[in-house]
């Protein structure tokens, strides 16, 4: 059976290189070998998990020559999650962290409500109900903003904190439904009402 694809994750290495990481435990069946040039969107082979095979695709921004392949010349290699399947000697590579820089340079009046602890974020009380807050809403001190699942218990995220005003307008709910967040991650981008 051949079902679906995995877009590989990349780990940047020290010198002009990167590694393509296994998305799962399983058997890696490579389609490229040392010296081959691989580029974004290309399949480097398949991973088989209990008889189900998925294509392994090179992610955006990666292009280069295969410098090393796991398991040497073997056609089937048992791998675990996060193993480096290929080492790529990069000829050109987009910096994957570029996406993060859009968060900087906040204009005046920008505030943030951050995660008080690490966990999984939910914006709504149950999958069939509307979110607690949406962009454009004005939130008040004490209001519930979302849920954080920590150690299998659901905790309410309540609008509070010394650095935040009595009320503020929601610019954006940053994490997607069910995203894992770590302590300090921005949950809500807010705008103070006095400034607008």
């Amino acid at each position: 059976m051949n079902e679906g694809v995995y877009v590989l994750r990349v780990r940047a290495m020290d010198r002009d290189g990167s590694e393509l990481l296994s998305p799962s435990v399983g058997v890696f069946m490579p389609r490229v070998t040392e010296g081959d040039v691989v580029a974004s969107g290309q399949s480097i082979g398949m991973i088989e998990v209990l008889g189900v095979r998925r294509e392994l695709l090179v992610p955006a921004g990666v292009e280069g020559r295969v410098a090393d392949r796991i398991g040497g010349g073997r056609a089937r290699v048992a791998v675990q999650y996060d193993d480096a399947l290929l080492s790529i000697s990069t000829t050109s590579m987009v910096n994957l962290s570029d996406a993060d820089s859009s968060e900087t340079g906040d204009p005046d009046g920008a505030l943030a409500f951050t995660a008080p602890m690490s966990g999984r974020f939910y914006s709504r009380p149950s999958p069939t109900e509307p979110p607690f807050v949406s962009a454009g809403d004005v939130v008040q001190r004490g209001q519930t903003l979302g849920l954080l699942e920590v150690m299998k218990t659901f905790n309410r995220l309540v609008y509070q904190g010394d650095a935040l005003p009595e009320s503020a307008q929601v610019e954006k709910v940053v994490p997607n439904e069910g995203d894992d967040v770590v302590r300090g991650d921005v949950i809500l981008a807010l705008r103070s009402l006095a400034e607008t």
Binding site: P23, S24, V25, L50, D82, G119, M151
Partner: protein
């Protein structure tokens, strides 16, 4: 008879370390399947492990195909699921068997029957156990739940058809509360068990939670290892468990133990299992559910019988007939266990993940105290999984002796960096309500919360 040389542990934390200890004693090589969040955990040191996927359980500890693939490619002939995660998932058990890996647990068909709570209740009633009044099978929607509740009378308890561990459970005191309770129970059940179906039982308030430990081989032989009282609970989460249940009268104990053995045999159960009962005001034990797995509190029964339940599970799975009979099992003295969770009892039991700067337990070589844990100084309790970090179990000639010994052990426990439930346990153990057995599941004795 076959023998397992390599056994895959499809779980994490305390139970994974617990299973590995018995494997070591039986000269079986344990192989741990772990998530990225646990890859550097101290209990894996010097052991074989394989990385299944990222921290998220759905891509690691709940990813059936990845786990079985990992067991196969690490050449394991058996798999122990521990508790929680996939321990009671018949689909997972079948998948193991289909790929030549012996699943250590009951046959998938039996598990399926027990995992659906309402058919399980029907089987137990047929075998002579008393039930709690409730819905006949699952309820279809809020309206029907209201109708059933009106018929049996409020308050009622909504429970997850595929549930366990107190998840997806809600108390409903009047008809107007039904919708909100139903919705939240349903979404929690869906999140925890991928099954949003609910059933309904009359809420018995002020009851005690009593359970019976059972062991069955593949040839129909069943024994019990006595009962446990798990009535110190908060929001249906057990905190302290002990054996025997001294509140139980001897006639009810003997009668229910015998009926539980009969029922276990009647449903074709194999392996270690636990029947949970509610002791009502009339002193009668009413069946709630049977858990088709090893329980967190199993050491309490091990301390009284000197039977290693994990060893029994493994040997039964190889096809060995039970090597002792009911008469050989001597239930000695009193044993009691505290679950140490990474939670802050002073602020509503808020989760307290983080780095344990310093971890110390001074046991002074006391053979009657047992500490089951996977943590040590420097360990980081990850936020992704449940909060159990340690269990301390003590044995004594009688209840007071066991409680005193447990208190002493807990006082020697040092855990800096995160909050734990230890202060609450010490308060409970020294409280009059607990020592005089005047409490029930509705409130933690000796602790205001």
């Amino acid at each position: 008879m076959k023998r397992f040389r390599r056994l895959f542990i499809a779980n994490r934390g305390e139970v994974a370390a617990r299973i590995a200890r018995t494997c070591d004693r039986l000269a079986i090589t344990p192989v741990f399947g772990v998530s990225e969040a646990d890859r550097d955990a101290p209990y894996l040191r010097g052991c074989e492990s394989v990385l299944l996927g990222p921290a998220r359980s759905s891509e690691s500890y709940l990813a059936r195909e990845r786990i079985v693939q990992a067991a196969v490619q690490t050449r394991c002939s058996a798999l122990h699921p521990g508790w929680g995660f996939l321990a009671e998932d018949p689909l997972f058990a079948s998948l193991c068997e289909a790929h030549g890996v012996t699943f250590i647990g009951p046959p998938p068909a039996v598990m399926q029957k027990l995992g659906r709570k309402t058919p399980a209740k029907a089987s137990m009633a047929a075998a002579g156990l008393k039930l709690i009044p409730g819905s006949d099978g699952v309820v279809h929607g809020v309206e029907q739940a209201r109708e059933v509740a009106n018929a049996i009378g409020f308050p009622v308890l909504l429970k997850a058809e595929s549930g366990g561990g107190g998840r997806g459970m809600r108390i409903v005191r009047k008809a107007s509360e039904m919708k909100a309770a139903y919705d939240s129970a349903q979404s929690e059940s869906l999140a925890c068990f991928a099954d949003g179906r609910l059933y309904l039982e009359k809420l018995i308030e002020g009851g005690r939670h009593i359970e019976i430990q059972l062991l069955a081989d593949k040839y129909g032989k069943v024994v019990h290892m006595g009962e446990r009282d798990c009535s110190v609970q908060r929001n249906h989460q057990k905190l302290i468990e002990e054996s025997p249940a001294t509140v139980l009268n001897d006639a009810e104990r003997e009668q229910t133990l015998a009926a539980a053995v009969r029922a276990t045999s009647a449903i074709g159960y194999v392996g270690a299992g636990t029947m949970e009962f509610l002791l009502d005001e009339g002193g009668e034990l009413r069946f709630m559910e049977m858990n088709a797995r090893l329980q967190v509190e199993h050491p309490v029964s091990e301390m009284r019988t000197d039977i290693d339940l994990v060893e029994a599970q493994i040997r039964i799975a190889t096809g060995e007939p039970l090597w002792f009979s009911q008469e050989d099992i001597r239930l000695r003295g009193h044993a009691i266990e505290c679950r140490i969770n990474a939670e802050d009892p002073e602020s509503g039991f808020a989760p307290s993940p983080g780095v344990i700067d310093r971890w110390e337990v001074a046991l002074c070589g006391d053979e009657h105290v047992r500490v089951d844990t996977h943590v040590e100084s420097g360990y980081e309790v990850p936020p992704h999984y449940d909060s159990l970090i340690c269990k301390v179990i003590a044995w004594g000639q009688d209840r007071d002796a066991a409680c005193d010994r447990l208190t002493e052990a807990l006082q020697s426990l040092r855990c800096d960096g995160i909050s734990t439930t230890t202060p609450m346990h010490l308060a409970v153990l020294s409280s009059k309500e607990f020592r005089e057995n005047r409490y029930d599941t509705s409130a933690v004795p000796g602790w205001e919360s």
